[in-house]
């Protein structure tokens, strides 16, 4: 960790606070466990053997480093800055989620835990968790809102093939936040043997920090690749944000490169004045799921449901480091609607022969807006954090095509 007081990379503080955000807002039953996790994470971070095993699995099991790709036809179509992609959709399991799952399951085993639980929305984190559990032979329970179970059938089947038990959650609105509530209830009742693999850079400290650290492999690789390919750093980084793990993974290694601008793209759903999932644009600070951050909520602090065409962005909160980066002004945040994401999805298919997931389609939509306003010698680097195979059914439905 940097000791430079002017660094943007030295958060959180020792109590897990990113400025006014983050923290450890959990029930007393979980508190000793969270403290133990933090101690164990510090020890693992300082242990070269842990790092070596993590790196080895990322290389030989996940397929890292992922390529850095210049997109010539998209660049030409947009007629402005050069557009490059970090190809994390080429990872094993098809998204960036696996990076974090590898890190956390190694931690779980280090702590002697013998049972893994996770929450999932679209199913990508559930699939990645089920994958690492199969790889290491640990039993896995994935909580998934009943609504999501119904609309993400292929991922439910994948998880089952991988040996996970998928528990449909009917409580509340039966979506991602309710799945997270249910996972927390399981954890509190099984603290002695269970490790909770949280899928995004949110939750109680130290989760936002450790998820960021595991995902930062994206930005570290991209920074090195860009320097070796072009001899310079990008002018702008762009990434989609639900909880914000792929974005923080790309951004964090660049935060102290003052000339690199950053843009996080939230899901504006049907529009910011209608149903959406843009916590920074349309929410305000509050406390949920163990951390203080921007939340979609009413005047009484009751949590509202997020909406996005992308089930992976459909969460009413955001990781606390993004809340802090927004307030500090280091990162700019914008949003893209369902419609704009769908258009960007098709644009990338057509121009580059890449079918992106709906999550990074939001980032591509923002690239579509901003690239034409930049010079041709400038560089945009966007995170292509997932592939779109899982989304073809919902895209077809939105385009009025019957499969």
């Amino acid at each position: 960790m940097s000791t430079n007081p002017n660094s943007f990379r030295n958060q959180p503080d020792e109590r897990g606070h990113f400025g006014a955000y983050g923290g450890r807002y959990v029930a007393e039953t979980l508190m000793p466990l969270i403290l133990e996790l933090e101690r164990e994470y510090r020890a693992a971070k300082a242990d070269p053997a842990f790092q070596a095993e993590f790196d080895d699995l990322l290389e030989h099991y996940v397929g890292r480093p992922s390529p850095l790709y210049f997109a010539p036809r998209l660049t030409e179509e947009l007629g402005g800055a050069q557009v490059w992609f970090k190809r994390d959709e080429l990872n094993h399991t098809g998204a960036h989620k696996i990076n974090n799952c590898i890190g956390q399951i190694l931690l779980a085993m280090r702590m002697g835990k013998t049972r893994i639980i996770a929450e999932t929305g679209a199913g990508q984190h559930g699939v990645a968790t089920a994958t690492v559990c199969a790889r290491f032979g640990l039993p896995c329970v994935v909580y998934m809102g009943a609504t999501d179970v119904a609309r993400q059938a292929p991922n439910v089947f994948r998880m089952k093939l991988l040996g996970a038990e998928v528990v449909p959650v009917t409580a509340g609105a039966a979506t991602l936040k309710d799945a997270m509530n249910e996972a927390l209830r399981d954890w509190v009742a099984n603290v002695h043997d269970t490790f909770y693999i949280i899928g995004t850079a949110a939750g109680p400290h130290p989760y936002p920090e450790l998820v960021r650290d595991f995902q930062s492999v994206i930005g570290r690789e991209a920074r090195e690749q860009m320097l070796s390919r072009t001899g310079r750093l990008p002018d702008l980084l762009v990434a989609a944000i639900g909880g914000g793990s792929n974005a923080i993974g790309l951004f964090h290694p660049f935060l102290d490169d003052a000339n690199v601008k950053m843009l996080g793209v939230e899901a504006a759903g049907h529009g910011l004045d209608k149903e959406h999932a843009a916590s920074l644009a349309g929410g305000r600070p509050g406390i949920l799921h163990g951390n203080k951050t921007y939340l979609l909520q009413d005047d009484d602090g009751q949590i509202l449901e997020g909406h996005s065409i992308s089930a992976g962005l459909d969460y009413p909160g955001i990781g606390p480091e993004h809340a802090w980066l927004k307030e500090s002004g280091r990162v700019e945040y914008t949003s893209a609607t369902d419609r704009e994401a769908l258009d960007a999805f098709q644009l990338l298919c057509r121009t580059e022969g890449i079918i992106p997931a709906l999550e990074p389609s939001h980032a591509i939509a923002a690239v579509q807006q901003v690239a034409p306003t930049m010079d041709k010698d400038q560089i945009i680097l966007a995170n292509l954090c997932g592939r779109g195979d899982k989304d073809i059914f919902s895209v077809a439905e939105h385009l009025g095509v019957k499969l």
Binding site: G23, M31, G172, N181, V188, G286, Q297
Partner: protein
């Protein structure tokens, strides 16, 4: 002596009863609270409904959703509390809930409203001692007890932090788990209460999974109080706006078992 101190100084164990405010409707809650008092409850815990009650089992989750579906607001909860205080000047009333609805208009606002409504204490499930600055100082300044939870995972090293700044009573969560599910073994409860009482002067009330007079009595022998919630909530779920009668009946049976638990041996 505060109302909470008096409740635990009657020379017998105290019965602490929890119901969710606004369940099934805000208008029905006052009669249910009255039924708890008439049935012999010594301390009333009024739940503030929340969309995401992470520490609660199915019964109280459903109660939260029923209350919110009935349109219950934070203003309703304070109205219910203030009217309770008028009808029952001596019965301690504690708000229990989750952090977000408590701090959303600012902790100072919340503490002021609690004081105005005559609330004696607050239990906030998801603000541990590590985040005390969020709410604790505001409550203490307003003369409201912050009632903390201790659990089977609270070890000797943490206990002083849990006790620091807490008052009224200590709520011992007897199982690592959610509300209304399994009950802990009596021996483990007895040992835990002894440890807590050795470290502190404030009364210890035991809850989570206590549903019947038969369970409550033996716990009352070893603790200063017994908390019952889900079993009462179940009656509200099945009887709706007519729940006051059955709630009074169960409370009476519970209070007899709790109040007389130590006499049985004498």
């Amino acid at each position: 002596m505060t109302r909470l101190q008096s409740a635990f100084a009657k020379g017998q164990p105290a019965l602490v009863c929890f119901v969710t405010g606004g369940d099934p409707t805000p208008d029905a809650t006052p009669a249910i609270l009255d039924a708890l008092v008439e049935g012999g409850a010594d301390v009333i815990e009024l739940g503030m409904p929340f969309t995401d009650p992470m520490a609660d089992g199915p019964a109280i989750q459903a109660a939260n959703l029923r209350a919110l579906a009935a349109g219950t607001t934070t203003a309703d909860i304070f109205r219910i509390a203030a009217s309770f205080r008028t009808r029952h000047p001596d019965v301690p009333l504690v708000l229990m809930g989750y952090a977000n609805p408590m701090v959303t208009r600012g902790a100072q606002w919340f503490a002021d409203e609690c004081a105005k409504a005559g609330i004696d204490g607050v239990i906030c499930v998801d603000i541990p001692p590590e985040e005390d600055a969020e709410l604790g100082p505001f409550l203490r300044d307003a003369g409201i007890s912050l009632i903390r939870l201790a659990t089977p995972t609270t070890d000797a090293a943490r206990l002083p932090a849990v006790l620091e700044g807490s008052s009224g009573f200590l709520y011992y969560v007897s199982v690592a788990g959610i509300t209304g599910m399994q009950q802990a073994g009596l021996a483990s409860i007895e040992a835990a209460v002894a440890t807590l009482k050795a470290a502190s002067d404030i009364p210890v009330a035991v809850g989570f999974g206590v549903r019947t007079p038969e369970q409550a009595g033996p716990i009352a022998k070893v603790a200063d109080g017994v908390v019952v919630g889900s079993a009462l909530i179940d009656l509200v779920a099945s009887h709706g706006t007519d729940a006051a009668g059955p709630v009074r009946e169960l409370t009476r049976a519970l209070s007899q078992a709790v109040h007389e638990s130590r006499k049985a041996d004498a």
